[in-house]
């Protein structure tokens, strides 16, 4: 599991995740992702290269989004593949963490 970051607009960070958010993958990036969420107010998590997620991965995303929100910021999920989006929807995660398919819309959403 790989986690890389880039600044896609002033003050807006995009985290690019690559791999499987299974038990092993979630553990591998847990610390780095928590640190990232703790240091950002506008965070876009690009899931386009994530091909699996289950409950431990959902936990990672929800805790991260909550951390950002507690600082008055916002985290958005970007472009999950269909199979990953199905789990996000089935678990109700999409009720509490926004999912967008367009980067400009995501930048606008977290910049508000």
């Amino acid at each position: 599991m790989r986690l890389e970051t880039e600044e896609v607009a002033p003050g807006v960070t995009k985290a690019n995740l690559t791999g499987r958010l299974d038990i092993g993958g979630s553990q591998e990036i847990d610390l780095a992702f928590n640190v990232l969420a703790g240091s950002q107010r506008a965070l876009i998590v690009d899931l386009s290269q994530v091909d699996f997620i289950a409950s431990l991965g959902l936990r990672l995303l929800i805790v991260g989004a909550r951390t950002v929100q507690r600082k008055g910021g916002r985290m958005i999920l970007l472009r999950p593949p269909i199979a990953v989006e199905a789990v996000l929807v089935s678990s109700g995660t999409d009720n509490v963490v926004g999912i967008l398919r367009n980067l400009d819309e995501a930048i606008h959403a977290v910049s508000g």
Binding site: R20, D22, I23, G24, G25, Q27, F52, A54, S55, L56, L58, R59, I62, V63, A65, R66, Q69, A83, V87, S90, S91, G92, T93, N95, V96, V97
Partner: protein, 147 residues
């Protein structure tokens, strides 16, 4: 039917009931789903069900007899069953039927969203059928997955 405890085949995995054991699941699912020639949807379902069922045992299983070394292990098996796949997860912890867990309430906001308890809910979405039995001192969860 062979018991899942009959380890030693590619389709069977015996792991420690620990985080180190859980870390072995990903590679094993890669191997067994490739050997069965599964498509992406079936592979996803197997991976999700294996992971959620095993995480449940590792996180919630309670060993009853200190003298029973097998209580520290989980045995998994994936096998073809007609037009489906049968996934079996066995442990020798205290009796625990995960199917009795109440369905989770959909989260309404981030602050109160639960970060656990989704495993059974997700398994129900991805398995055609799930059954639990207590066989002697063994918990056996059997999932039927469309292939």
């Amino acid at each position: 039917m062979r018991s899942a405890a009959d380890a030693g085949h590619i389709d069977t995995l015996r792991i420690e009931r620990s985080m180190a054991g859980l870390a072995q699941l990903g590679d094993w699912v890669d191997t067994v789903t490739a050997a069965l020639g599964l498509g992406k949807a079936a592979e996803y379902a197997v991976r999700l069900c294996v992971e959620e069922a095993t995480v449940n045992v590792v996180m919630h299983g309670v060993a009853e007899g200190a003298a029973d070394n097998d209580a520290g292990f989980v045995v998994l098996r994936v096998e073809p069953a007609q037009d489906a796949l049968r996934v079996t997860v066995e442990d020798r912890c205290g009796a625990f039927d995960p199917l009795h867990a109440p369905p989770p309430e959909p989260p309404i906001d981030l602050e109160t969203a639960r970060v656990g308890g989704l495993g059974i809910h997700l398994m129900r979405q991805y398995a055609r059928a799930i059954s639990y039995e207590r066989a002697g001192d063994t918990n056996r969860l059997t999932l039927t997955i469309a292939r």
